[in-house]
Amino acid sequence: MLKIFDTEIISNAEVSANIFKLEVAAPELSQIAKAGQFVQVKVSDEFTLRRPLGIASAKNGMVKIFYRVIGKGTEILSTKKTGEHLNILGALGNGFDTNISGRILLVGGGMGLAPLLSVAEKIEADVLMGGKNKSEVDFWIKEFRAEVDRIYITTDDGSFGSLGFVTSLLPEVLEYDNYAAIYTCGPEIMMRSVYKIAEENNLPCYVSLERRMACGLGACLSCSIDTASGRKKVCKDGPIFEARAVFS
């Protein structure tokens, strides 16, 4: 059952340059949301379209979202204050499989860490995270610390963790444990490389895709993609897909 929720903003603060953490009180949504699902946020009446944002955490009646200010919509969102209300449509999409047995390795780059956090909240997992620099991973570390056992870190500039990309460190990380699967989200080029390494290691790999979206309900076909099993809608059939179905 999809719904439009009128939520109250509990906090909306910058956690790194142009990256905001938004917390809203949304008791029902926080109960029904599955890891890896997303919402469509109505930023203001000024806009024709909602903005799709991943659910990074859903517990205790609260929903957390992390977003980067990249355009007009996210900019206006960033000016919203505690106590204001936010109209949210959700929870959308299929979500990650959280009934899998065994430990999962989460591999995320940048804002791609948001949906992975909601997985860590639900099941046993470690995380391998990549970011541009220390400041772009610091707040993620704080968020993941309570939810995972191990955190592996890379930064593009080497200012924290290993210098380089997650894909440089991934093969090594895979040696430390017998992971049941890899869940990944981030730039598509990163996810493709992660998928390749997963294949080499015979590991199931699931990816969270992003496409421009209008309806978020599977109706408008803004977000259609080709998959091994035909045309799919990222908003409804995804955003989580088996990497093999979409990258090969």
Binding site: M1, L49, R50, A214, L217, A219, C220, L221, S224
Partner: protein, 301 residues
Amino acid sequence: MSERLKTEICGIKMNTPILAASGTFGFGEEFADFVDLEKLGGVMVKCITLKPRAGNKGVRITETPAGMLNCIGLENPGVEKFLIEILPRIKNKMNVIVNISGSSVEDYGELAKLLNVDGVAAIELNISCPNVKDGGIIFGTNPKAAAEVTSTAKKFTSKPVIVKLSPNVTDITEIARSVESAGADCISLINTLMGMEININTWKPTLGNITGGLSGGAVKPVAVRMVYQVAQAVKVPVIGMGGICTAADAIEFFLAGASAVAVGTANFANPAVTMEIANDLENYLASRNLNLREIIGQVKI
């Protein structure tokens, strides 16, 4: 369901004169959590073609001032799958109006024939899709071709035939009159205005198809004008659309001469918007003690 809003267009009984516009509402089911589908006058389902189509590559939508551009490009499962898998699932839940498109006059005839089945309330000829070369726009901008498509479709179906007009023309009344003479039972308008956006960082068009169709509030004044012009020019009923977001917007179209209206882009911001429009329209009429037909075409010039 309120008596005040009940209406009938080309023999299709509608509980309200508020329809969902093709391409924005899927096959209706997608909105079931937000909309009482029976309360809609009908769902104009996503455009159906003879063969399945994958649509355009690349980015398919972008937001523009008070509107959006799309270049979905008629992605659809094809008429066969529609008839076998989809229609049986939806036909008892709503008035199904099937929007169809072809690359030749014959295509329209064949589609009309195949869709002349139980569960289809009407067919809507999309001769106005600006997003594919063979999407009918060549028919929609030429009165003769538009008439030919219309009369061919009429020949192969006993269903009401609605012809959907493109706003990208010099004289909308010329096309309207032409399809009316060719037997159109109803005219719907407007489809999208052809537009374009360029990304100033990449220097590439935002949309995969270079251009796309403009819809949403931005186009409303153009749509109201064209509905007004067409309603003056023809006798068949008109279904008005283009930028309707509120009951107030819908009422403008009724006053301009539309017998029913369809809501497209506004469904994206608020999937329950058609229900709100129906309720607010009912209140508007009730507070003036009017029936729907008493406002249709009543603009005072």
